[in-house]
């Protein structure tokens, strides 16, 4: 399955360009904003110095899910899903291929952008070292959990659920406090925010970039929630697959 998606990606330069284009635009926009705010010194400068890091970690989360979901959508666009579902391909193998593709697609986008960030803004994502590995692991796990859940929705509801693939992750943007600390949220919303693993990652990133402290405790908590999320997502996917078989949705594949 990975070969299938790789062939597709290789055959289409607009698909590759699309992987790099938006992360680059975002990085430049937030990078220049960070530079501008940095000129004021004091608190604004301290707040601003996390922007590039935040946008790049957000891209890992968002692009990770998108990479997973788009690969799945390709099967629906090409009306190939029935061919796969009557083949000996097991759901676990299908999901694993989508995970691998999500990392490949993400790498194509994020690696060049991270190098541009060093050149233009002196921000070296790779210098975060072990912390980056912990951030990445937790963000990619959340992105896969959402990707698996959306794939289930698509199986059950066909392309009628396509918009969820593009927009569902955006609820995480305000809730997981990408650009501001959790402390600014009202208590009831903060409670919800702490249920989402990326919140721990973005808080951890701010601690690292502003106070130079790596919060391993936050990463462990995020990982534990991620395991629960992945388990829930797989459960939902299998339930949606069963429901799709009951309702005959796999025959239709479209609306």
């Amino acid at each position: 399955m990975v070969a299938r998606y790789w062939y597709l990606l290789r055959s289409s330069w607009p698909r590759v360009f699309d992987l790099i284009y938006w992360p680059t635009v975002q990085m430049f926009m937030w990078g220049f904003l960070q530079t501008y705010i940095g000129q004021f010194g004091g608190l604004p400068a301290r707040v601003g110095q996390t922007f590039i890091g935040a946008v790049m970690l957000w891209d890992i989360l968002f692009r990770g899910q998108l990479g997973f979901s788009i690969s799945f959508l390709e099967e629906m666009y090409s009306r190939n899903l029935a061919n796969l579902l009557i083949s000996p391909l097991k759901p676990a193998e299908f999901i694993s291929a989508l995970m691998i593709m999500s990392i490949i697609r993400l790498s194509i986008g994020i690696v060049p952008v991270s190098l541009l960030a060093i050149v233009f803004f002196g921000f070296n994502l790779w210098a975060l070292g072990l912390a980056l590995a912990a951030f990445f692991l937790n963000l990619i796990l959340t992105s896969w959990a959402l990707g698996i859940f959306i794939a289930g929705l698509l199986l059950r509801h066909g392309l009628g659920a396509e918009n969820m693939a593009w927009t569902l992750m955006f609820i995480f943007l305000p809730l997981t406090c990408v650009y501001y600390p959790v402390s600014v949220l009202p208590p009831w919303l903060a409670m919800i925010s702490w249920m989402l693993p990326p919140t721990y990652v973005f808080e951890g990133m701010r601690a690292l970039l502003t106070a130079h402290v790596f919060r391993g405790d936050l990463m462990v908590q995020a990982f534990a929630i991620n395991i629960a999320l992945i388990a829930l997502a797989i459960f939902a996917f299998l339930k949606y697959l069963q429901a799709a078989r009951r309702h005959g949705s796999l025959l239709q594949g479209s609306e």
């Binding site: 399955m1 070969a3 299938r4 062939y7 597709l8 055959s11 289409s12 390709e74 090409s78 009306r79 190939n80 029935a82 061919n83 796969l84 579902l85 009557i86 083949s87 000996p88 391909l89 097991k90 069963q242 078989r245 009951r246 309702h247 005959g248 796999l250 025959l251």
Partner: protein, 253 residues
Amino acid sequence: MPSTEPAIAVSNLVKHYPGGIAVDGISFAIEPGSIIGLLGGNGAGKTTTIAMIMGLVAPTSGSVRILGHDMPRERYHILHRMNFESPYVEMPHRLTVRQNLSVFARLYGVAARDARIAELAEELDLTELLDRPTGKLSAGQKTRVSLAKALINAPEVLLLDEPTASLDPDTADWVRTHLEHYTAERRATMLLASHNMSEVERLCDRVIMMKRGVIVDDDTPARLLARYGRNNLEEVFLDVARGRGEAAREAVP
């Protein structure tokens, strides 16, 4: 000793959808090596029946056994021994024919992938097309590619849903000839849903006629023609579809 179990055994199969009953308690058994036609008008339940045999649709009740295994419970014991072709299920357009066939060869665990693809390309006249994107092919060429995909694992059970729909007569005839050869050489079992009566008459050892989710007749083409007093299956089909065949059906020995 060869197995005496039917290649496909369907028992009291029922499928209810919220909008109504698609299949209403059908039963039939198909012997290994035979070609069976599934006939019926639109909404008769043919596609739903084939989908339940493949495990794409879960039956409301009843059972399906393929090559001695329960579908869908034991699906991973049999899926690599069967395959499906339909003009309504396509393959990724941007991938070349070779890439598409290679992906499916891997999915079905075909051992000598390149050799099998070359062999099928030769048989189905696809050698020149192997490195062209699948989406750039004509309808007839795409059908041959879909057929190559359906035969990639040399299936013992082949399910076909209107395999020659929208093909010109020459290509359609070519496809039928190939299917005849394949089933004869491999002693494969084929279940074919079609609206093309001459196709069914030519290929099938036996015809199962469906109407509104139930089997209304099941016999060899020759016996159906004799019993309905008709010259071709199209006339038999019209008798069944328009409710004119009651007396003939009651005459079943």
